[in-house]
């Protein structure tokens, strides 16, 4: 089972699609095999093999009309077509019925080349923003509102749901509901420029209790630095990173790049490009253009000391 395959499913939305995919795949394979066999038999009745002389040697005849083939062939083909048509409409209706009971609505805004994820609430103090990692409670339908920001992207978590594009100027809806707890791979699926290849995300399905705990933790501002390195690091982050990134509780307040307030709770960085460990983080900050060419994050040209300080502070952001 590979991370993005859609022959398996782990949530209701994808569960509706999977059997239809298998059914059409099976019908298709059968049709190919049947036609191949018929073609093989037909060709193996060949009179001759060769070039023009052999062709001319076989006399032309009017032969059997053969029209019955068309009638019977089309009649038989119509049965699976009709079946698929009906099944398609039923599945479509089932998926389109976006669960309205769902209390949880997540606003996802894909950017070149990362995912902005906002958890809404009626209570403004309960709203928070994260990036590239979407947490959902198991067994609960979650609505996802997709907003277009720059170019068109497509939201896709094959194990949980089919695709839906994020188009500037309109808000598209889709929904997720995980049956089993786990981490599910997601990927941008509409070509969006240089780093379309590195525009992944993850959906983390967890128990309601774990989800609530995660949510509460995400609402907290960044912890205060405790060492001189961390203090220097925070100043650097505010000054150097704060033009694009946000760290709640500091003066770094820009929102044109992933929110870093709880950076270290995420398993990957740069939209799934690298694992989130000290080595990768260091090489990413030092030279993002080498790792993800065309990415909108510029090289920072930090000195060794500055880099160490920055990392010391970032390590704190849990």
């Amino acid at each position: 089972m590979s991370p993005l395959d859609y022959l398996h499913s782990a949530g209701r939305h994808a569960d509706i699609i999977r059997p239809l995919t298998w059914a059409t795949l099976t019908i298709s394979t059968l049709v190919v095999v049947i036609i191949l066999v018929l073609l093989w038999i037909a060709v193996s009745r060949a009179r001759a093999s060769g070039g023009d002389r052999e062709t001319r040697a076989v006399p032309v005849e009017r032969g059997t009309s053969g029209k019955r083939w068309i009638g019977i062939g089309v009649a038989i083909s119509s049965i699976p077509l009709l079946l698929t048509l009906v099944w398609t409409m039923v599945a479509l209706a089932n998926i389109s019925r976006t669960p309205s009971s769902s209390a949880l609505v997540i606003d996802v805004t894909p950017h070149q080349w990362w995912w902005e994820v906002q958890y809404g609430s009626r209570e403004p103090s309960q709203i928070f923003t994260t990036a590239n990692e979407i947490h959902i409670p198991v067994g609960v339908p979650v609505r996802v509102r997709l907003h277009g920001a720059d170019v068109i992207h497509s939201f896709w978590v094959p194990k949980l749901s089919g695709k839906m594009d994020a188009v500037p100027g309109q808000t598209n809806m889709t929904w997720l509901e995980a049956r089993i707890a786990g981490r599910y791979a997601g990927q941008c699926n509409e070509f969006c420029g240089f780093q379309h290849a590195h525009m992944a995300f993850e959906v983390v399905a967890q128990s309601q209790a774990d989800f609530d705990a995660w949510r509460a933790a995400q609402l907290a501002p960044a912890p205060e630095p405790t060492s001189p390195e961390q203090t220097r690091g925070r100043a650097l982050v505010e000054y150097r990173c704060g033009l694009c990134h946000r760290v709640l509780g500091t003066t770094a307040g820009a929102i044109s790049a992933p929110d870093l307030t709880h950076l270290m709770t995420r398993q990957k960085i740069a939209a799934g490009t690298l694992p989130n460990d000290a080595t990768s983080l260091a090489s990413w900050i030092r030279n993002p253009q080498a790792l993800k060419p065309g990415s909108l994050m510029p090289n920072q040209n930090l000195s060794g000391q500055e880099l160490a300080d920055t990392l010391a502070y970032l390590e704190l952001l849990r």
Partner: protein, 646 residues
């Protein structure tokens, strides 16, 4: 109309003096002047074929470079920018500069011969559409070679194609180039339609034409209707980019999905337009090697038209994930499933033709019959994408890449190579080598399936399209390696084809007028045909003029040796649209460089627009105006004006 305009054509048989007179009237002058001014459909057809094949080679090389990059995970051969340029240029090349023009080439060469005519209805327009095709192809490739190729896929979605995200000249080259190329497609389509409806040999009623005529006629009508949509889309994009019109800019009240609708209203019918003529080649070629007529001629002809009619109602299946209302999706999903039916008609007709025939396995037969298989594989994967929920998973994965290559290589390239084996003797008077042909076929067939059959699984395992690299651990490594190996085997197969063409042109066995003992009119004239095609205009009494004595379907007999002589000038016969009753003598134009100069002027105009050099654009416009003036100046010999008085 004057009294002198009424004339009954003389009827007779060919003789040496008559042939010499026709030769004098129809032959193209030697040298560069003749090269630039010829309006002979056979020369233009061969130019189309050679040019399209050159573009196929370029597109093929581009794909091989991409397959090197993707052969293993984390490839570093190409930067993301280079990869994006390559896959976009590959798509543009194969779809616009190869798949359609190659069929125009075969149709150009073959149509008058199939129809019993001496040229296309508008020979000068024919020359113009070739020159514009060539010029726009060079224009588009000038962009690619200067690092300004298309970089947003052949479908070129906005807003990524807008200036904000795409500041270079890339999209200006592509937008203007596509409007430029659209002129050629439109002119060609109009020419084919009039040719099919007005220049068929007397007696060749519409139910007696070869299926290839049905295919190209249907495709031409579709082109005439849909090319304006894409030309408009690209023109609006260019205005957005250069003049800030915001047609597609959501922030200013524009609509990104407008692009997708305009593009796919064109794009999907176009897909049928680039396979229906090729399916026609198989419907006409296959029966010759089965030594019997095609099973279900009427059903196949009707299914050709039905495919196109339904084909206008399926474009939204490219947009199932764009967030359109579900009721609308269900309609387009239904049509996309139903469109399988006319395709099934063709498949069963071909199968029955082989089954009830006495097939002779030549190289052409191998290409034609294997196409049935590839067509079915491309068809069933298309049927899967027609189901909206399934498509929400399949779309934009490698499953689609596999699907579209089975459609385009399976239903376009394989029939085209088969058609070349079939008609090469007619075009050149020489056979392509049969034993090299076997190597050619099997290498291509094995290479193609090795490359693209496993790709369906790559798609089912979730690999997205248009990624310049992928990481290992996704389950795609081995499959991608197999595909890369297969693509090189396929390339060797194509190379063997080129070798065969070059070798056979030099030393191929000589072919007679009708080397395959085939049934249609082109085989009644010498190989290669003389510039005037038919010394006398044939009269047609059935679908199979050259097989009548053997099929004996009725007592009526076609006449190829005895008919209208029409040698008083460059003349051919015009006939009525349905029944092909002769109703006028058509005065055909002389060779002229006006089309070449007109295309050159148009190219200057487009370069001027691209670089926003008003002076150059104005100069181009002036050249166009002058060329048109020369072209359209009424001439007495064509009876376009009264003779001078006095």
């Amino acid at each position: 109309m004057r009294e002198a305009d009424y004339r009954a054509p003389e009827i007779g048989v060919d003789n040496a003096a008559h042939a010499a007179r026709l030769m004098q009237l129809w032959k193209t002058a030697p040298g560069l002047k003749g090269f630039l001014s010829t309006v002979d459909h056979k020369q233009i057809g061969i130019r189309y074929i050679v040019t399209a094949f050159a573009f196929l080679t370029l597109g093929g090389i581009e794909s091989l470079v991409m397959r090197l990059q993707l052969a293993g995970p984390n490839g570093t051969l190409l930067t993301p920018e280079q990869y994006n340029d390559l896959f976009s240029t590959h798509g543009m090349t194969m779809i616009f500069l190869y798949a359609s023009p190659i069929l125009s080439g075969f149709a150009n060469y073959l149509w008058p011969l199939l129809l019993g005519s001496r040229d296309m209805a508008f020979p000068r327009l024919n020359a113009l559409s070739y020159w514009i095709y060539l010029a726009s192809g060079i224009f588009l490739y000038a962009g690619f070679l200067t690092g300004n190729g298309p970089n947003d896929g052949w479908f070129n979605y906005v807003p990524y194609a807008e200036r904000t995200y795409n500041p270079g000249l890339n999209q200006d080259f592509y937008a203007l180039g596509m409007v430029f190329l659209g002129i050629s497609t439109t002119l060609g389509a109009a020419n084919f339609i009039v040719t099919a409806l007005r220049t068929r040999a007397p007696g060749m009623s519409l139910d007696r034409v070869p299926i290839m005529i049905w295919g190209t006629l249907t495709a031409s009508v579709a082109n005439l209707l849909v090319v304006p949509a894409v030309s408009l889309a690209f023109f609006l994009l260019w205005l957005d980019r250069q003049y800030g019109t915001h047609f597609f800019d959501a922030a200013q009240g524009g609509q990104p999905l407008l692009w997708q609708h305009l593009f796919w209203i064109f794009g999907h019918p176009w897909v049928y337009a680039i396979v229906l003529p090729a399916m026609g080649m198989v419907s006409d070629g296959l029966p010759v090697f089965c030594r019997r007529p095609l099973v279900g001629y009427a059903a196949v002809a009707i299914s050709t038209v039905a495919t196109m009619v339904l084909g206008f109602g399926v474009w939204v299946h490219h947009m199932f994930a764009a967030g359109l209302p579900t009721v609308g999706l269900s309609f387009f999903s239904g049509i996309s499933i139903v469109i399988t039916v006319p395709s099934a008609v063709a498949v069963f007709a071909w199968l029955a033709t082989i089954w009830h025939g006495r097939p002779v396995i030549t190289t052409a037969f191998l290409f034609f019959s294997s196409m049935i298989m590839l067509f079915v594989i491309g068809g069933v994967s298309g049927f899967m994408t027609a189901s909206v929920p399934v498509d929400w998973q399949l779309t934009d994965t490698y499953f689609i890449v596999a699907h579209l290559h089975y459609v385009l290589i399976g239903i376009n390239v394989f029939p085209v190579i088969g058609a070349t084996y079939f008609w090469f003797p007619k075009m050149t008077g020489k056979f392509l080598d049969e034993s090299l042909g076997r190597w050619n076929f099997w290498t291509m067939f094995i290479g193609f399936n090795l490359a693209f059959l496993p790709m369906h699984i790559t798609g089912l395992l979730g690999m997205p399209r248009r990624v310049y690299t992928y990481s290992s651990g996704m389950g795609w490594d081995t499959l991608n390696l197999v595909t890369s190996v297969g693509s090189f085997v396929l390339a060797i197969g194509v190379l063997l084809f080129v070798v065969n063409v070059v070798k056979s042109l030099r030393s191929g066995a000589v072919a007679s007028a009708n080397p395959w003992d085939a049934s249609s009119l082109e085989w009644s004239v010498p190989s290669p045909p003389p510039p005037y095609n038919f010394a006398v205009i044939p009269t047609v009494a059935s679908r199979h003029p050259l097989w009548e004595d053997r099929l004996n379907e009725s007592s009526a007999r076609s006449s190829v040796a005895h008919g209208m002589l029409l040698d008083a000038g460059k003349e051919t016969i015009g006939t009525s649209a349905l029944h092909a009753t002769p109703d006028m003598i058509l005065e055909m134009p002389e060779d002229t460089s006006a089309p070449f100069i007109l295309a050159f002027g148009t190219a200057l105009l487009f370069v001027g627009l691209l670089l926003r050099l008003a002076l150059l654009a104005g100069l181009g416009g002036a050249v166009v105006g002058l060329a048109l003036l020369v072209w359209l100046w009424p001439r007495e010999e064509l009876r376009e004006r009264e003779p001078a008085r006095g």
